[in-house]
Amino acid sequence: MERVAVTGIGVISPAGKNKDEFWKNCIDGKNSVSRVSRFDTSQFQTNMGGEIKQFTPYMKNTDALSVGLCTQYALSAARMAYDDAGIDGLSSDKCAVFMGTTMGEGQELGSILLGSGEEEKRHISLFDVYNIAAAVCREFGLKGEASHIPNACSAGNFSIISAFEKIRSGKAEYAFAGGADVLSELAFKGFSKLRSLAPDKCRPFDKNRLGLIISEGAGVLFLEAMSSARRRGAHIYAEVIGWGASCDAHHMIVPSPDANGIKAAIRQAVETTGIEYGDVDYICAHGTGTPANDSAEALAINSLFGEHTPVSSIKSMIGHSMGAASAIEAAACCLAIENSVIPPTINFEEADEKCKIDCVPNNARRMRVRIAANNAYAFGGSNTCVLFGEV
């Protein structure tokens, strides 16, 4: 079986419109959430969101009028990951594409449903509202295996899992794997109706946490067969070493309080990879800032890893970018391994008895990261844990 290297990273996020800016702001513990300007938020519980401002798409073969903002984020992140990998030309049938989302072009969909006429100007088909993987294939002229996995908040991880398995089995030599979502009025209304939005800040694992902050962006990893990466002398950030997945089968938006589903995903990742729990130096949490998620996740982490494995939530800084979240967080895992530094959980003021973990409060921590675990959980309790290892 082939090993799978991460040789390129592309990130579009409120913390930065490229990987380096994103990472610097994460390590600095910058709160990148701001007042939403894209639509009127006066009727919602909050006016705060992880809105990406002054975005210029970075696409070479796609007309910006033919795709919505979610796809522009995805394509830009994919281009950046490709550039970052430093690869000279891709064989069109040896590169797989796995991308995911929660709502796709939510903002465009709103226009389509209202019949505002905007969609006519932009010529976006219903298919392209929902399918980002096809757009990535078109941007790069690819004709290999591709799939769109709209697994909501675990979409990025599932894309990475799918790409990992294809490369590992020799069915692809490279792959784009990631996720994207846009901060749309529809999403804002939906999450607001669920009463899951925090009024001002996302405070993962804090005793006074009140919910999540909706965000947007895209994260794309360029994955490559290790033999290919070594042969061409590629820079390797990290290696995808394993994964686990499960489903709570409990509730659509609330994790099972016994955390058994989350534990099952983590256990599967660790046991199938053949590592020890103590080998994991960093856990990039799902850490949404909701009372239910954080206590369930902390329970699972504490019971399997103990209290001392560093855990942090990127969402404290950039909000919850839905389908992009676990892909952006995967990027953070790779960068943590590469740079031997763990990003913080910011906005942490008071410890919660129900969250007995080391959440790396407020300040980044310099330490070697041999293995990082990326947790992501979606609507319906679809749980994932992807492991990245140093090379």
Binding site: L126, A133, K143, P150, A152, L186, M252, A264
Partner: protein, 322 residues
């Protein structure tokens, strides 16, 4: 060796079981079966939408058919092929949200509008605590789901799974399908899939074994591309095109017909009776293959799922005992 399909359930306007599907596809006799939302008593269904209710009923039928209880396994997965998730729910939620604002929407309307909501709801209703994946690749969605399911069973990540496809008509769906020159249709078709050796060990009736598949996206594709993917599928299945008895096709695609002519394999087109079931099409074609197997009219069948969106899925099924 691929997974075995040991249970089937379907709801559509053209067939609600293998016999009716066979009658419709082979004999051209559509019995206009009841595609309405079934009346179900389970409490948890009150918050689900129509497509999820139909899928649930189909899964329960497949479960009973297979002699398996999904809740008995702690690693039973679900792999659901759907082009748009519950687009009807998104229409309902989206219109209410945009036209009436916060007061016009209910929390479950938003939850049901998310593309992976049906898979999530079905996991809760059926006790499916293994891997939960939604595959959304347009016309190839169901074959994509079957392929992913096969890979995960082969890897030992799940010992069994619910797998299939769903499609539901609504304003946006109908408009999109018609813009692409097809007649919109809908339905749900679900299977129980499990490790073939384990299925045999428990004495399950095996409808088919999924031998292999091939899958890709191509913005433009011609007959050569189609022939190539069919050949790749045969290679993946460890067989040859000449050993395929039938190809169940995607309708009147000129390129597909040209590619199939090279092979000399007989063709069955179910779209004449089913209409364009889009994301669920591959699942209904798989069921049609099984209908042939049950009558010993074929030993190996290829299912082609290509369409106007660029996704191409091709899989090969074998009759048990051949």
């Amino acid at each position: 060796m691929g997974p075995a399909l040991t249970g089937i359930g379907m709801i559509s306007g053209f067939a609600s079981g293998l016999d009716e599907l066979y009658d419709a596809v082979i004999n051209g006799k559509i019995n206009h079966t009841d595609a309405a939302v079934p009346k179900l008593k389970e409490k948890g269904l009150v918050f689900t939408d129509n497509i999820t209710k139909k899928a649930y009923a189909a899964i329960k039928a497949a479960e009973a058919d297979s002699g398996m209880n999904c809740r008995d396994r702690d690693d039973m997965g679900i792999f659901l092929g759907t082009a748009f998730g519950s687009l009807a729910s998104m229409e309902k939620f989206g219109r209410a949200a945009m036209e009436k604002g916060m007061k016009g929407i209910m929390p479950m309307d938003f939850i049901n509008s998310v593309m992976n909501a049906p898979a999530g709801q079905l996991a809760i209703l059926c006790g499916l605590s293994g891997i939960n994946i939604t595959v959304s690749d347009g016309s190839a969605s169901s074959v994509g789901a079957l392929r992913m399911c096969a890979d995960m069973i082969a890897e030992g990540r799940v010992s069994a799974a619910v797998v299939g496809g769903i499609a539901e008509r609504c304003g946006l769906y109908d408009e999109y399908i018609r813009q692409n020159g097809e007649e919109p249709s809908e339905g749900v078709c679900m299977f129980i899939a499990e490790d073939a050796a384990a299925a045999r060990a428990r004495g399950a009736h095996i409808y088919a074994e999924l031998l292999g598949s091939a899958y890709k996206y191509a913005e433009q594709y011609g007959a050569d591309d189609i022939f190539e993917i069919m050949s790749e599928s045969a290679k993946d299945a460890g067989t040859y095109l000449k050993d395929i008895d039938f190809i169940i096709t995607c309708g009147a695609l000129d390129n597909e017909i040209k590619a199939i002519h090279k092979t000399g394999i007989k063709v069955i087109d179910i779209k004449d009776v089913s209409g364009e079931t889009y994301g669920a099409g591959g699942a209904f074609k798989t069921a049609a293959a099984i209908a042939l197997f049950e009558r010993n009219e074929a030993a190996a069948v290829m299912v082609n799922s290509f369409g106007f969106d660029g996704f191409m899925g091709c899989c090969i099924l074998k009759r048990e005992g051949v």
